[in-house]
Assembly symmetry: C2
Homo-oligomer: 334 residues x 2
């Protein structure tokens, strides 16, 4: 099958670009120095390729990702980089107790420490706020939470600190800001004990010098938003669509809001100018090639990879024009 023969809309991964992104990252963060973030691609088939490249420890954002990675035999070392309580904590504990995976949970409060212990989770990272107003405890609270976790019988592997507020920063102070976040996280580690400092991402991959393991996921597929900030990686993921309506001034593609994560704005139409996106349509102005006929395939580059992939059942893997593989997006949902 050739790529232009795929039914559309279809997510397409350029395997050569993907492999180049993986190699670029592995040169700086080899083996388990990288903890690829499964949330970006939600596919055990893609994860297996990273595993084969030596990255055997993974980050997950949902319990379903943990369950699916464990079931696929990719459970060497799974970190749920997210706080859970209630039924989600119980499901996470069930994976840990089953022995199908090594499971580590992020905790940032008494409630999440207690929920992890009650669920039978045996290893935690203390999640520390280093500047992004999201999960993560007050750094001054890290030592106390680590003590609480140990009292409840859990091992504290170290700390997690995600400098997410700096991923898309570009200013002259970015290097210093990343270092300042790291100082907060490293100081917390001195209070918690352990030897893991898990943090960073695609946007700070070349500046973060304080994480013992980098939590990057977007780098392998990339999107138009990240490529502006991390040009060492190439956009390997595109959405192939078909022109279904053609007028003198504009064309319409059969791909819309249900095929594209829109929080980072409009996608980029290759060879055209995106006007607006509707539920199942994308209206665009013609590019230099002029008006295209109904039936013409057109590629679109998503603005944000993670919520784009989460709409799709599969990614089609191509080398040049040939479809060589299919990666099911098998870790969607919660």
């Amino acid at each position: 099958v050739l790529v232009h023969e795929l039914p559309t809309p279809a997510l397409v991964v350029d395997l050569d670009r993907f492999d180049a992104n993986v190699a670029t990252m592995a040169a700086r963060w080899p083996g388990t120095r990288l903890r690829p973030h499964v949330k970006a691609f939600k596919s055990t088939a893609l994860a297996r390729r990273l595993h084969d490249a030596g990255h055997t420890a993974f980050c997950c954002a949902t319990v379903r990702e943990v369950e699916g990675m464990a079931a696929a035999g990719l459970g060497d070392d799974l970190l749920l980089a997210n706080e859970v309580v209630g039924p989600a904590a119980e499901r996470l504990g069930a994976v840990a107790r089953s022995g199908a995976a090594r499971v580590t949970a992020a905790v940032d409060s008494d409630a999440t420490v207690d929920a992890a212990a009650a669920a039978g989770i045996t290893e935690v990272l203390i999640d520390v706020d280093c500047g992004l107003p999201r999960c993560g405890c007050d750094p001054a609270d890290a030592g106390r939470l680590a003590d609480r976790a140990r009292r409840l019988g859990m091992a504290v592997r170290g700390v997690m600190g995600y400098e997410g507020h700096l991923m898309r920063a570009d200013g002259a102070t970015k290097q210093d800001d990343v270092a300042a976040a790291g100082a907060v996280v490293r100081a917390a580690l001195a209070e918690t004990g352990g030897d893991v400092v898990s943090g960073g991402g695609t946007g700070t991959w070349d500046l973060n010098d304080w994480a013992t393991e980098l939590q990057a996921g977007s780098y392998c597929l990339m999107d138009t938003e990240y490529v502006d900030h991390s040009p060492a990686f190439a956009t390997a993921l595109t959405l192939q669509a078909t022109v279904v309506s053609s007028r003198p001034a504009w064309g319409v593609l059969d791909a819309g809001l249900k095929a594209l994560g829109m929080d980072h704005g409009d996608p980029t139409v290759v060879g055209g100018d995106c006007w607006f996106v509707s539920d199942e349509h994308l209206t665009f102005g013609w590019g230099e090639a002029g008006r295209l006929a109904v039936g013409t395939p057109v590629r679109v580059v998503p603005a944000h990879v993670d919520p784009t992939v989460a709409y799709h059942e599969r990614m089609h893997v191509v080398r040049g024009e040939e479809v060589v593989d299919q990666w099911p997006v098998d870790l969607r949902g919660w």
Copy 2:
């Protein structure tokens, strides 16, 4: 099961509000005067409830919606309100030829007329541009396309014209603008023949007096965007999430970009103030109730219903606090 016991994130439909929305619409557009748009909810279980309320003809946006509605026995009269060519047209034709549903396709070009005929589709509507730069032919071309369709052996049921550019308009000229769009569509009908004028939506349900059938879908679930423009309907769909992190100034929910369509902007946090949404998190400022504990359920009202529902496997149906049903979102994908 009570609603606050559901694993989160969970889509929740308030059945009383849903039924009230359905009744409000049916009073103005009863029976087949309404052609509910399946794209808004992508669920045969929900569609069956509308069918039971007398709305036996449906609009679909994708071939998979047509296939799923036909397989569920809801194929009395299915309009694919969208242009298709290639494999999609062939699949649509297969449904028509199977006899499992009455299938009508929208066409707006020689290529889509020819694709419909080649696929064995026997009924079409001529899709006419009435102001939204998307699908729809130049109105001057409608008669010619209808003749072409008839020459190829298809019946022309009439026209379709979607005044989508006016759905979220509010100005003093909205009534006149809707009427002007209708004049274009009605004039095209005089050229095409047939007796169907399919158009309109939730945003013009009370102003459109020219459609023989209204294509509304959002009205039954609603969202914060539409409720501003069509206050006769109430928001019946919410996303239930759980506080997983709690700090003095903010809380974090376990629901994010993969649970919420974001093209219309941030959702509304009930009793809080949405700061920003991440892949699997929503950070919000505390409301009047003050700081909430980790584990507290919180409701979020989506800004755009269609791309929100498309992320979920099911909707939980509640009456008051009790979960009384579950509607699988079984028509996702393409």
